[in-house]
């Protein structure tokens, strides 16, 4: 059986995984920092709930952009 390895596909899959994986890690790291600080701030000022949610949600754009790039690599 002569299975031919399609290096283009392998590299594309790897690039897509990298785009999504690295951006997800970046988002997770930023959210961990914001989450820890936000929890501290909330303990003292509960009225900041909405602001903390916004701050926590802002870095999610990074992983969304990563997802878009991954989708463009695989499907575009």
């Amino acid at each position: 059986m002569d299975a031919v390895l399609n290096w283009d596909k392998v590299l594309m899959a790897f690039a897509a995984a990298l785009a999504l994986g690295v951006s997800a890690l970046a988002t997770a790291w930023v959210q961990s920092r914001i989450g820890a600080s936000g929890a501290g701030a909330l303990a003292e000022k509960p009225e900041l709930t909405a602001t903390i949610i916004i701050l926590l949600a802002i870095p999610e754009t990074i992983v969304i952009l990563g997802f878009v790039i991954a989708a463009m690599i695989l499907l575009g």
Partner: protein, 622 residues
């Protein structure tokens, strides 16, 4: 909102404040007068409280502290309802509360002492019961002394044996483990050696259990007996104290609660008078209220307090615009969505109320993300239940109303995507998705989400433009308009690469972009291109609608697949129910958070100016 000035005879101040409080429409604001300055209306000065009012305030403040302390000490019970008029009985209550407070404080002190003794005695009982099992049969024999020690660390047992051995020349030490897990030791020695042994124990930091004085000198079995009897006495006394406190609470708690509520209300009125002004004969109040209510308040005040009452509507000055309190007023459908707007700092009076736009777009985004008719149906039932059962709780009811709107959009989008608990509905009916299958149509869904983002961001920019026009900020308005047109052109150019029909618009759009660019730079400054880039980033952020939705539909798909692979029908049903329930909980939280974020970050930033003051009228608390 109207700025009003209310004037009337000085002796009518407190009754007028009560009427205003009952009507619940006026926010008293002394700062409006402070801003106007003394020259505006000479002869008006801050109200100086007369001696009688001041004495009443001090008396009530003192009484309030005493009653609050008493209610803190009394247990919470179903108290008798009080029909006493607090205003008339307040002097008698002041005499009575001193007596009751003294009794309650004495009870509290005694209870604290008894509880401390009881806790110590319980510990002694554990110790005595443990060492009794260790004591030799001739424990009552004269000339012997028993020393009890507590061993905190089992490793110290060896040290105890060593210390006792060095003092008593190899005497045996008995140890046992108590019911609560701690270790006790009993050392038996001749009375003449006892002091030497105790000294050795102290030197080795092994604590001797010191029993209370009334147990000293008694033989070991008698000590246990006396301690048990004493414990019974303490428990009985504690129960009797609790009974007395309960009787006191049942008889008086209701009345004191009633008087306290009246006093808080009265004190709030007296404190409000600090924001009042006076002339030689009149009091003058300044404040804000909805324009529609001015005539009603004027009528009520004249009816109740006579023709001498004057309510005048004043002109709002330009420099006062930032201080006008903001009240959100919306049609019934949009009113629950004020809950989501209130989570953020209040917008300025000159800013646009975003509630109607949240009411339109929030459920739409929620439905687009969750998009499952089955989940939507369950959410609809949950929302209906919440609205029915939380009639008295406004916030919960409003949350239910928001959920109801969201569930309807979820059902609509579920029908478009052909999803009913994932692909289960389509499989049972043997039909394809009527519009598109979210699991495979990834690129079309991305385009759809981005298109929705373009519309939402453009609406935000249009509102920002309108807001600038209203505030007569021409340069800012032009910058926002050019930003809006530039984004529209950019979206058109990008769309022309993906949709063949739109190819025709590419050239005109590029031309328009070239014309808009210099205007944008001139009005928005050098940072304008970065601002435009931020808008593009905001639009891309709407892809989350597709991404979170994809995660939701794939989870539902996995739930159905796992249920199918379970082997047994019952196990399959249980697996499916559990996984779908989990997905539904996620399906409520994730779309809520993401839809909120799209509003708070991407949408509101285009037009909302925060820094407003919330409208908080003087009103009677229930």
């Amino acid at each position: 909102m109207s700025k009003v000035e209310i004037a009337g005879p000085r002796e009518q101040l407190l009754p007028v404040l009560e009427t205003i409080e009952r009507s619940g429409v006026l926010q008293i604001d002394a700062s409006t007068r402070e801003r106007a300055g003394e020259d505006a209306e000479p002869g008006i000065r801050p109200l100086a409280l007369d001696g009688r009012t001041l004495a009443e305030r001090l008396f009530l403040e003192d009484l309030k502290i005493k009653i609050e302390r008493l209610l803190e000490l009394l247990p919470v019970v179903d108290a008798r309802e009080s029909y006493l008029s607090p205003a008339r009985a307040v002097n008698s209550v002041a005499t009575l509360v001193a007596k009751h407070l003294e009794a309650a404080e004495a009870q509290a002190r005694r209870r604290e002492a008894l509880q401390a003794e009881l806790a110590a005695l319980d510990r002694y009982l554990v110790f005595l019961s443990t060492v009794q099992s260790l004591a030799p049969r001739d424990a009552g024999r004269a000339g012997l002394e028993y020393i009890g020690v507590e061993v905190r660390d089992p490793a110290a047992l060896e040290q105890l044996t060593r210390v006792a051995g060095s003092v008593l020349l190899g005497a045996e030490v008995r140890t046992a483990r108590a019911e609560d897990g701690s270790w006790f030791g009993l050392l038996t020695t001749e009375q003449e050696l006892a002091d030497k042994l105790k000294e050795g124990l102290r030197g080795s930091h092994i604590p001797e259990v010191a029993l209370p004085a009334y147990l000293a000198g008694l033989p070991l079995p008698a000590k246990l007996e006396v301690a048990r009897t004493r414990r019974g006495q303490l428990a009985a006394e504690l129960a009797s104290l609790d009974r007395d406190a309960s009787e006191l609470a049942v008889a008086w708690r209701g009345m004191y609660g009633n008087v306290l509520a009246w006093m808080r209300h009265r004190l709030a009125l007296l404190r409000t008078s600090a924001a009042v002004y006076e002339t030689d004969r009149c009091f003058v109040l300044f404040g804000w209220m909805p324009s529609a209510g001015v005539e009603g308040l004027r009528r009520v005040l004249v009816e109740r307090h006579g023709d001498a009452m004057v309510v005048e509507e004043k002109e709002i000055l330009r420099q006062e615009l930032e201080d006008v309190p903001v009240a959100l007023r919306n049609p019934p459908y949009f009113r629950p969505f004020e809950l989501l707007v209130r989570l953020l700092p209040t917008p300025r009076y000159t800013s646009i109320d975003p509630t109607p736009f949240v009411g339109i777009f929030f459920p739409l985004f929620f439905g687009m993300i969750l998009g499952d008719a089955g989940y939507g149906l369950l959410l609809f039932l949950a929302a209906a239940g919440l609205i029915c059962f939380a009639k008295a709780r406004r916030t919960l009811r409003q949350a239910g109303q928001i959920l109801l709107a969201c569930s309807l959009y979820t059902i609509v989008f579920g029908a478009l995507y052909g999803e009913f608990f994932g692909e289960l509905g389509a499989r049972l009916l043997g039909r394809e998705a009527p519009w598109l299958d979210r699991r495979t149509a990834i690129l079309p869904m991305i385009y759809f989400a981005v298109a929705v983002g373009v519309v939402h961001v453009l609406v935000g920019l249009a509102l920002g433009f309108a807001s600038s026009i209203r505030g007569h900020r021409k340069r800012e308005a032009l910058a926002r308009l050019s930003s809006m047109l530039a984004l529209l052109c950019l979206a058109g150019v990008l769309a022309s690469y993906f949709a063949p029909v739109a190819e025709l618009i590419r050239k005109p759009m590029l031309m328009a972009l070239l014309v808009i660019a210099p205007v944008l730079l001139l009005t928005g400054g050098l940072l304008a291109p970065f601002e435009l880039l931020r808008h593009v980033g905001n639009v891309v952020s709407y892809v989350r609608i597709m991404a979170v939705g994809l995660a939701s539909v794939l989870l539902a798909y996995v739930a159905n697949r796992l249920a199918g692979a379970a082997g047994s029908a019952w196990v399959g049903v249980v697996v499916a129910v559990l996984l779908h329930a989990f997905n539904m909980v996620l399906g409520v939280f994730a779309p809520t958070i993401h839809a909120l974020r799209l509003h708070y970050v991407e949408f509101f930033s285009k037009f909302i100016e925060t820094g407003g003051r919330r409208y908080q009228p003087l009103e009677k608390a229930d």
